[in-house]
Symmetry: C2
Subunit: 694 residues, 2 copies
């Protein structure tokens, strides 16, 4: 309890300052780095060159995650759990790379990933004025949204045409600003090295988000251009010594989403509606996949990556949800909001900002009764299988691509077309049995949530039980054949509107209502965006634009110290060592998921046990940061983020540095494992020299 | 689909007959056995002596399950999973009997269970007229309920005083009849033998409710009187050969609950409200316990029995729920109900029966908005931990016991007092950490379901987060000390009303609303009971009282054939063998829960692989039947029920014999395992001779 009160006081103080970051807080835009804070706190000056180099050595995994270049020959390092999606898609019953690992001893042995796209940020441009200019004063929320969407699509298309770079307009500060991000894109990505999942995710779900930890959560890829390893201008030098306790380090990566700038009304909506819904769904899915996985080794293989994702999200959400129930956090939020509103009161220039709080509350109230149907029908929680996702994309592609670029749904813009096709035509294996399992359960969920008598439910089930209907749909559809997809996509509406494919027919049956729900919610979101923009403007006017926006899976810079913490009165050290992993395994009697890979057991004697393995730091990170490089003042690679501790899960809503910690794999630990366990001498040489054999 | 249509036709035919049982259907009362059906179908006559012997050799486990006497020296056989609660309570970090098994080689080594009570049915008396006579014509539902409750308590108290036997008035046909069951009670129950859980529950949750199976799901106890093994007059002779394919066999046990006589309106309520709620709660609890269990071996031990119970219920409910979504079942139910109502129409004597359908629908509608609060506050789903359960019992005992017997809540009647105290003063270990985990999660569930702003939620949380509040309550209460309980119980209201024990204060804080909800729902239940009684009366008048009531955890007789079935077009044989277990383990690479105990691996060579191990039959069973003896025409023990296959889960709502199967451990398989794996020669000798060494 004492901790909680202390936390409340700290948070109240931090938030009362109107969002100005203190301590090691912040997921900073590369365009407005925390130069002054770092200088004041650590006496270190970050320069434009230093930033530029780090930005261009940072890699975004489109499948959700971060990484970095670690050799000029296009070698990319990320987490095993970020690479898991790619590993799963490359695996078969015979070659289970996800479980057993992979090691290419030459470029020729590197295997191309099925549908992996990597992005490297090249430039950032503020286009706020352009995007806002498109919206006529006094326009309805719905037409404002359409105008804004069109403006964004146009900016992206122009930029793509002009630069050839992937161009995304991103929304920052919940609508306070719009930036154009241009990325160099790599779609020929090959797998170089992955350890066994037992080593990468040692301790599994039970140790996930816990510390101390002992995980070799790494995976190496290489980007290719024209069939050859790409030569990249920016890459990180490997520090053989790695991070040291007390050292200032930086994290460059792509935090996925935070909710720190949300109003109290929205946070309460998250707490009371959205989190409970999502957690119910995740726990249901976890039980389903877990139970099915245990029936056979092949089931386990097929569901592994999905199950990991579900468990990981569940644990993260449970932690975040607990934060929303913590009076220390919500009390501080409320106090800060009141204090800020008091500063706005009675000042005509801030009247719209003050009114914005009411708008957000009203919109949140209006969203509530629609949200469930929206998640089930448009969000496809009622049809959670790959076959449905493909069927809907085919159906909508036929509707959307013929429209003018600016009128299309956001995921069908011209600028994103290439990435859309890469994903749609992916040769990833899709398993009929798992599809039936997932669809049967989500049809049941749909019927439970909307009621069996609901018109949409009746139409979807077509007089069958959820299980029978799922079986009929999954067995009957042909969208799992890539050739069929290509044909339907090419022939467009002419073919798609007449096909009798049952999954496409299902997608069509719910499309009217799904689109209508989306239209209504997008209009409400626009009202909210305008309201947040008014609040942001007031905040900038009062406190200067010194702070950072909420995370949006765009590249950010965080900083912090390698540092332990205290738990239940006991100190938790900053670093673990390789021998600690052997001790934890023995303590858990080598029972899965604490069963070390055979290679680790066999080669135990050659492993230097004192080498650092994992470490914690005060960096401000969140999901999506997985795989982010940790660099020292010299910009050298000293570790790789792979998790946060359980106390860090509240970072979704507020920064905390007493106990919340980022978790990283240490650069020295990686080297030692590659050397002594995997005998990956070529890879070690490339890391130390910064280039391959060529 | 073909199966489903066939099933629909069969069910419609069966149900159209107005409930008269066909084929091997039925969980029959011992007072109206299916004598004629068995004679017609199998040419076998069951006699009163035969029934009497089987009834008195059958044992009810008060913790939930069935069993039988298998030696005149009071040896009782049940399932390992029925005994698991007792095993868990006897286990410690040092002696993990639940996991590792137990074997007393002499009476002196038999250990007394913490709070296990066994009941043996001695007589059944129809008290319908007496119970109904207490209810004045035209009484409100609430006073009718009170009068009925008082009458039942009085009958029980008189019977206890007269016979010294445990006396329970049970409600049958949803209120169509009331019977007085008298049991001989054993409270000195000692553990004799249990295999390792890996052998008893080989295949764990993934293979639960599946077939083929290979489980030694048995556990031996012995009842004592005056400190010596009890000599019991009725016990089952052991058949060394056991059940044979095609053989007629009988099951005598305590099916817990079925819902076959419910109206369609109530079934829809189950499908749309009750099952989704329960399943959400179970899946949430499963994820919680599973994730916590995996953190350490000791956590796993502490949560094992709870986790098994949750997984088992979840799988059973998921199967039952799927049945309610199956148009074959619900369509047949609807058709049967319509057909029966058509027979009632226009006949004045059945007007009340016809009106009863509307009453049930109305009551079901009225229950709905109250049900959630009732489950959370009175059902204690919002406070799911042992400490709360004890605190509430102490609080209410102080309120209730001073009242006249007939005015008390049902669980505080004089006749049940001894059993109540046995449970309240149980020395079972309760773990603080697990209690906090469970309470924190259920307080969160409470806040989610009722909303954070709800008055009850605010009172319960007292300004803390669910985690902080749970920790404070569990650490602060002293009700886990049996001496404290005894003192509070003895001093009664004087002590309980002034105690500052935080858990009792919590129970007190919600008691007003909880009792009020219960009062309202009990009145609604009474209206429903009266309605069902009217329907039952009409059914008896039209078709004779030939059928069996829904299961109510009272002793029932089922019959059926040892027989395989077809699944996905492939035949599933009636029996498995011991060598099949070794093959399944090898096929699953000995990965838990397919890891055979060391003893089974070491002694493989001495095990006769061809001996039958598990078998399936057409008996009509459901949860609660676990541990029921399977006997042949001669009344000999040929097997023990331990599960049903996944297709049997719809038996909750309707009988089916094409694919639904009971699962049993074979008497020959048990003998062979005891002999060759456990070297339990004394036990084998006692089983074959029917008495111990004495």
């Amino acid at each position: 309890m004492r901790d909680s009160i202390r936390l409340q006081a700290a948070l109240a103080a931090a938030l009362a300052l109107g969002g100005t970051a203190r301590a090691d807080e912040g997921m900073w835009l590369y365009t407005s780095p925390p130069t002054q804070q770092i200088r004041e706190r650590y006496g270190f000056d970050i320069t434009q060159d230093w930033l530029d180099h780090l930005m261009k050595a940072s890699v975004r995994f489109n499948s959700g995650g971060s990484g970095s270049f670690v050799s000029e020959d296009g070698l990319v390092l990320s987490n095993h759990h970020v690479g898991a999606d790619a590993l799963q898609k490359l695996s078969s019953e015979k070659n289970n790379y996800l479980r057993d690992g992979f090691h290419a001893r030459s470029h020729a042995e590197e295997v191309r990933c099925v549908d992996l796209e990597l992005n490297v940020l090249q430039s950032i441009e503020d286009v706020t004025a352009k995007v806002n200019a498109a919206v006529a004063a006094g326009a309805s929320a719905e037409s404002a949204f359409k105008a804004r969407r069109a403006a964004m699509a146009e900016i992206e298309k122009d930029s793509l045409a002009k630069t050839g770079l992937r161009s995304d307009v991103v929304t920052l500060y919940q609508g306070g600003a719009y930036h154009l991000y241009r990325f160099k894109k790599y779609t020929d990505v090959r797998l170089v090295f992955a350890p066994e999942q037992q080593a990468a995710f040692f301790g599994g779900d039970p140790d996930n988000f816990e510390y101390p930890r002992y995980d070799l959560d790494v995976c190496f890829f290489r980007v290719y251009e024209d069939g050859k390893p790409a030569r990249v201008p920016h890459w990180l030098k490997w520090s053989a010594n790695g991070a040291a306790p007390g050292e200032l380090t930086f994290v460059s990566g792509h935090p996925g989403r935070t909710s720190r700038l949300l109003t109290v009304a929205e946070l309460e909506h998250l707490r009371d509606n959205q989190f409970p819904y999502t957690l119910e769904l995740l726990k249901r899915r976890e039980v389903l996949l877990n139970s099915w996985s245990q029936r056979s080794a092949e089931n386990m293989r097929r569901a592994k990556d999905d199950l990991f994702g579900v468990q990981n999200s569940r644990k993260a959400r449970d932690g975040g949800h607990a934060g929303l129930y913590d009076p220390a956090i919500m009390g501080a939020k409320l106090a800060a909001e009141r204090a800020f509103k008091a500063r706005l009161e009675g000042r005509a220039e801030f009247a719209d900002a003050l009114a914005a709080y009411e708008t957000i509350e009203r919109v949140t109230r209006e969203v509530r009764p629609m949200a469930l149907r929206h998640r089930l029908l448009e969000g496809a929680n009622g049809f959670a299988c790959d076959s449905f996702s493909i069927a809907r994309r085919l159906l909508r592609a036929a509707d959307e691509f013929p429209k003018p670029n600016g009128d299309r749904l956001r995921e069908f813009t011209e600028a994103g077309r290439e990435s859309f096709e890469l994903s749609l035509f992916s040769e990833q294996p899709i398993h009929e049995d798992l599809e039936i399992l997932l669809l049967a359960d989500s049809l049941t969920f749909l019927a439970e949530k909307l009621g069996h008598a609901d018109t949409a439910v009746q139409a979807v089930l077509a007089g069958k039980s959820p299980r029978a209907r799922a079986s009929e749909l999954v067995r009957g559809t042909r969208v799992r054949e890539v050739a069929v997809r290509r044909r339907l996509y090419k022939e467009g509406a002419a073919a798609v509107t007449v096909t009798k494919d049952p999954m496409i027919e299902l997608a069509r049956a719910v499309d009217g209502e799904a689109r209508e729900l989306r239209r209504k919610l997008e209009a409400l979101d626009e009202s909210k965006r305008q309201a947040y923009a008014a609040i942001s403007k007031a905040r900038f006017a009062l406190d200067g634009p010194k702070s950072y926006p909420d995370a949006t899976f765009t590249l950010r810079l965080a900083y912090g110290t390698v540092k332990g913490y205290e738990e239940d009165g006991r100190p938790v050290p900053a670093m673990t060592t390789l021998s600690g992993m052997y001790e934890r395994a023995a303590g858990m009697e080598y029972r899965p998921p604490f069963d070390l890979p055979k290679r680790w057991l066999d080669r135990r004697k050659s492993v230097k046990g004192t080498v650092p393995f994992n470490f914690v730091g005060t960096h401000d990170i969140i999901g999506g940061n997985s795989g982010s490089p940790v660099v020292n003042r010299a910009g050298e690679f000293v570790g790789i983020i792979f998790d946060g501790n359980i106390q860090s899960l509240v970072l979704d809503f507020a920064f905390e540095e007493e106990k919340a910690r980022s978790l990283s794999v240490h650069s020295a630990g990686i080297l030692e494992a590659l050397r002594s366990v995997y005998r990956a001498d070529g890879l070690v040489r490339e890391l130390l020299r910064g280039r391959g054999k060529g």
